[in-house]
Amino acid sequence: MTVFFGVFLLTLLLIVAIAIVRADNLFVAVMLGGIFSLLMATIFFLLDAPDVALTEAAVGAGISTVLYLAALALTAEREKRHTVHQIKALVVVTTTALLVIFATFDNVQFGDPTAPVHVHVGPWYLENTQRYMDIPNVVTAILGSFRGYDTLGELFVVFTAGIGVLFLLGTRPKKDTEAAETLIPQQSETSEGLRNYLIPRLTGRLLVPIILLFGLYVQFHGEYSPGGGFQAGAIIAAGIILYALLEGETAALRVVPQWMLMALMAGGALLYGMVGVVGMLLGGQFLDYSVLADNPVTGQQLGILLIELGVGMTVSGVLLSIFHAFAARDKY
């Protein structure tokens, strides 16, 4: 069965990819991008990677589609048909592809347990997670503690993206702002968003709380089931963005004001860092959670819980402020 599913999904994936590249209308391309991410999520799930599938769905399908659409709203909808240096591109691309395929000629078996990948470091994690952390989800154990430094770096990548977008879009745009003031009719508080469309308003009212609840569940249930800071942050951000779409951007800003976004972003990163520093102060190494509590195992669990919270806070803060930065753009 999984063989059939694998082949089907992969071919579908390639077809969607080619469709994206050939699509002239950028809106179509973005929608296909969403489908592309969902296909990737299912393939990941098929390959026993539930955590990654959840992230790909939440981040790939959810947030990136929202960001692309926000950007499209501000720029051209349709791509001008102008493929510039086609032959050069084909040549470069085929050489890279040949180089990659050349690598697979050797004895690369798919899924055989004796491959070096599964012999060396991998199994050590599987045995020792129970001993050190006693939590079922090994991926969260590695993410949180064994390779916690990677996740700290990861957190700061998101933080940099947030900083970058706020910095770039912080300036007042060059568009002749005086004309813009007069042209766009002052959107009254009520006419914003989809308030007076019946269906979205009703379903939205129902959906938003459920999404936020699910987000919190994913956040704090990361050790037992697939989930964790990144996924939770993305889901919570998606929930609030849905609320913004329904009630209008100013309403959403009243719910989660700008200073709180900045506090969330910086607070999360600081929380993660401080957990590491506290570990150092208590005599362990940087990011060593076993010293956090008297019993090392509870210390590890406490550490993982805290850093997942930090990650969740920062990711949601960053994604929301990016959305607001884009959304605020077309007001001017």
């Binding site: 390959l47 692309y68 501000l74 001008k80 745009p173």
Partner: protein, 118 residues
């Protein structure tokens, strides 16, 4: 079972090719960015395919079942990080594209170069 594995790698190569082509050949900046994110997601496919073990399951313990074959958790952790790196790059790229649209009034690479020459 063997040719399926190779099919996964060839799918990875094909996706890489498509993404890379879009980045180089397309002049629309947003299409370039989409190509770039596709290029990166191809790499995610490579890593996760590596981690799969025949009839293994997700690396999560269940109380009852003791002897379980689990797929390798490490590539999954790496890809979790790589996905978020990808989205951050896309977010920053889109921010720059919006600024370019405001400064130049177009997001076609050949038009922007033209404006600069004048």
């Amino acid at each position: 079972m063997d040719w399926l594995g190779v099919y996964y790698y060839w799918a990875f190569a094909a996706l890489l090719m498509i993404g890379f082509y879009a980045v180089i050949a397309k002049s629309n900046l947003i299409k370039k960015l989409i190509g770039l994110s596709m290029f990166q997601s191809a790499v995610f496919l490579l890593y996760i395919t590596m981690g799969k073990i025949d009839d293994g399951t997700a690396p999560i313990y269940h109380e009852g079942i003791s002897q379980q074959i689990f797929s390798n958790p490490l590539p999954q952790v790496l890809i979790l990080t790589a996905i978020v790196v990808g989205i951050s790059t896309v977010a920053l790229g889109l921010g720059i594209i919006v600024r370019i649209q405001e400064e130049y009034g177009s997001i076609e690479e050949h038009e922007i170069l033209g404006i600069d020459e004048r």
